[in-house]
Symmetry: D2
Subunit: 346 residues, 4 copies
């Protein structure tokens, strides 16, 4: 019963097969191979617009590199106070941007709103003593398993883009956000005003695979230099290209996300039935956040349930906020066992 | 007949098998998995001393991160003027170190010497107007396919370490350097004074696998933060750990290197027989550098030989310096066909 | 009636005289001149311990350089959410440290407490996904015109130094903090656990003069390189040395601070007498913060009072938080006129 | 007899008078004061075109900030191998640009040529493995006391600007370069293709005063943030503005430069008369470089002549390359005494 993270699970066997298959003969190195080139074309197809896409190894690198394309070192980047870039990347955004400042806003359920952003922008009254606000970054699906709708994104874009800011989306769980809403990838990104995104693959079935995808291709002008400088240009790039192609082929990426989302909804509904627990946020992707007595959390751990405590606002003394992440590879049986375990220990 | 680089070839099937095998069940993420832990232990065994080893995705990242552990942003790093860190990494060392200065010395055959380094150190006469010399980086095997012996390394270490500088080795082709000399990994590194190295796997059979290996473990104190900050901590780390274990098991890494070195020697000897060519440097690892008339180089390309022109000192007008890289996976037949082609086109 | 800032006023005539006097003959450049050397010795005398002191041009540079000596690029620096380094330096701390993260805590009256810091430190639960907490920075006198006592500083030091963090003090208004408490410079710094400080001169009578003062001199080892690299080593350094000597001579720095503090207290007491106003924080240095109806603030401006609106927590709708800064050079008459103006416009 | 540097001398008394005069009443801080505003207008007048000018404290800061406006962190900046930015600024250009790479070319007499630059640009054959060439920086007057003519500058600009590179001029001794050639400031800068320059004041009579002057004002868009972030925005900016106005008024800056240049020519001619010495470069500004036997150099030092040894190519064993810098404030008598001393000691 492992709900610790999506990344404790392995690789989609179809992706592994593609990696194995790519291992024959010679190929051009450093991303000039046929598979990497095809991966960019496939992403353009998925997004229904010509994109520039650059494969990298980790989400932290994808975020940092993407942000460095839209914020100068003297810039400010507005995000959620619980965003991965704000909390979980050990100053990587600062590193990649050369020292930009991240401003974390305390939005409900992991999401920031135009009102919060506008209020933040109003605080820039000190001229050059303030950094220059240059970008907004949203995470979709969010760190709390909620999703931004196209309308919500558009509202943010409409606010900030006329003021010269750029919009980034951290899409480490983008597949889950798309799958959960019945919208197209295009509707959830460039059609809603996103300039550049981090497109995640690892959490949803790949081995190590993220992409920086530019919808405003002018921003990508020097990106190949940025990626190289950051040590994110793989010499045997075909093995990233192969992963991406296999991930996107036949809608597998959404198939995997749907599977995880569906199981998460089941888990969420099951947990909500127990009076001792409350859901902290609606289950809109593949994560479930539940508030429970600390004693119950301890019992879960002792019963072999692998899950993690989360830090967020609004948690009472004696209460634990617990995160359950469901992956494409999580056995359905794990959810069933967890739900049947609960009556025994509450 | 592809001699463009070692990285145009794929993955050792035994390493691929290990990656496939690692794909079952759950594992702790971010390098805390059993395979990654075992990989560090295995490296300690290989080096006959307890090392701290951190797996990363690229050689550029390994070099940049290693250098950032031994040079401050106001430091100077002495290396060869044709070193990968100096020529081929798009300011990555400057990025990772926060702006340290690389000083490239023009040593013969891709190697720097104590005399060159001493002369460089003597030029630091400006106090704080100069950067502070903090590190020396050598590449073994070098970019010109030559190797440093333990004695040569020791001589450098004996010069610089009493002056407070640290010694880094870029070992992207370390296996080839070990295999070519009949020495132990320990003799070629910490026993000769190396503090930290970039230990390469990708060029010699892995998919994407490099390690920063610390022999002076105190230098590794904050390295986990450095790696994370640089976006080089893989969430599904087991797939790096699996590669490293399979690479090192049963001496495969040296077996592969021996195979490549041996083929390179055969190629070098064959090329040296042609009066139209001369070897630019002795063949001590898996690369052959040959000077030839430009017209001959063009004929090679037109005949389907994939190889690359190299930039270095001492090349006459009308002459091309051509690099042939032999990998563990280069078919012997490729060498034979190249050598039999030459009489036809010269 | 200019209360906009201490830096709208000019230079103490005695300091100007010293600058003029320094302008004869030749002197060694780049801080090796006799006056700069004497300034360091004088600071050691003032602090009753051998310090290393480096003169720079601005407080932002002093802070950034000092912080870069105690925090790595992957570090976190804890400070007040209204600290100058957090709010007013356009990412300079991030620039000088290479990307360290500042964590701003919401303490009362511009000050942070051991309890707040401890709570912050407890949030570091993510290992290398978090930055490494490396430093605490306090501002004394604070941005809200309050002061830390030696005991308050000691309590912070006792909390954080056993955990390996270093303590920095932004002393842009250090003279006012010393003068306001009847303590010695030593008691307020190294005796209370401060490792390095930014010692301000500009706001209190100098032209452009700040110093980075190290009490833990080992931290200063490479500081001359840091200062040079940041473009803060002045070629005609004697004109900084002359300022510092004249500033410190005969206790002038405290004399100036006492004058400003005393006038500020008078202004604060006077303002507190008006029912329409409330002091936002006690007047412990040379700044007065008053809450007033917005209409009153507008009337002040229209009456020729130069003062500024401040952003802080706890200000009601329709209310303005207004800052009045009193300098050593503020005419007493300005305070009198302001206080006599108020009954007319309230 | 002090020829160590122009910065061992003090301040032009007229500039000191202006600083003193500026010390009355209040003034807006952070460069919004009347004097700073007027200084920018005066520079526009001097250059016969609207410029954006930003006052800073040191030449190293001016250079670093200017370069950061025209090169990204992944860029390459081409300069002379003996340029101040390459040799004397302790990695400051790397710091301010976030890690750009400086490429130092070995031009004769301190100057780089279109041929050298073109050859350097041809070496960029590695795509994103190379940095991106983004800027050329020339020093005028050069570090060897020679000057670039408008035509020489134009030839460089004509080569590099069509390729997207920007042209920077380090004008720490710009006054000497203008004075030595009988050309206008405009002819020597923007009319010849310079985009941005570091305009020096300190070496030629100011206290601490440099300006970053943009001729392509679009490049200055975010410069106020850059300057602030670097700790180079002075709170009492009027004292920089006052210096600049006094420096430029009535052509004093050129008067001072002419005086220094003329004396340097006298010294150069005098030295050239001695068979034991040879001039290393023509005397075109305020510096004289002479080759002499080491023994003679020692005798000079022992006779109380303060001068410095210089490092450059083409110096034979046993020979010293010695730099004599003449300032606006160097007593004529010093030159006479030096020249009359020489026959006694040769």
């Amino acid at each position: 019963m492992n709900f610790a993270s999506d990344n404790v699970y392995g690789i989609d066997p179809r992706i592994m097969a593609a990696v194995t298959e790519a291992n024959s003969g010679t190929a051009r190195s450093y991303g000039a191979d046929d598979l990497s080139v095809a991966a960019e074309a496939k992403l353009s197809e998925i997004f229904e617009t010509p994109v520039r896409a650059f494969l990298v190894a980790t989400g932290t690198a994808a975020n940092g590199l993407a942000l460095s394309s839209i914020s100068s070192a003297f810039g400010a980047i507005i995000c959620h106070a619980e965003a991965h870039i704000f909390c979980d990347e050990c100053n990587a955004p600062e590193f990649f941007t050369g020292g930009a400042k991240l401003l974390g806003l305390p939005g409900r359920q992991g999401k920031i709103t135009p009102a919060l952003i506008e209020s933040c922008l109003k605080s820039f009254v000190r001229g050059e003593h303030d950094p220059k606000p240059m970008a907004v970054s949203i995470t979709n699906a969010s760190e709390l398993g909620t999703v931004y709708s196209p309308n919500e994104i558009r509202a943010i874009a409409d606010l900030v883009k006329p003021r010269g800011l750029r919009l980034h989306m951290d899409g480490a769980r983008f597949a889950n956000a798309v799958a959960g809403q019945g919208v197209t990838p295009a509707e959830l990104t460039w059609k809603a005003g996103v300039d550049v995104m981090s497109f995640g693959g690892t959490k949803n079935g790949a081995m190590l695979l993220e992409a920086v995808v530019f919808f405003d291709c002018a921003l990508a002008e020097d990106f190949s230099h940025r990626r190289m400088r950051a040590g994110q240009l793989m010499s045997k790039g075909r093995f990233l290209g192969a992963q991406m192609l296999a991930y996107l082929e036949d809608g597998r990426w959404l198939e995997n996300a749907n599977k995880a989302n569906s199981l998460a909804r089941r888990l969420g509904a099951g947990l909500a039935d127990f009076p001792a627990l409350r859901l902290y946020a609606p289950v809109e992707a593949n994560e479930v956040f539940a508030l429970m007595p600390e004693a119950l959390y301890d019992k879960l751990l002792n019963s072999g349930v692998v899950c993690g405590r989360w830090i967020a606002a609004g948690v009472d003394e004696g209460e634990a906020l617990v995160r359950f992440v469901v992956s494409f590879a999580t056995p359905e049986d794990s959810v069933d066992r967890l739900l049947s375990l609960l009556p025994e220990i509450t």
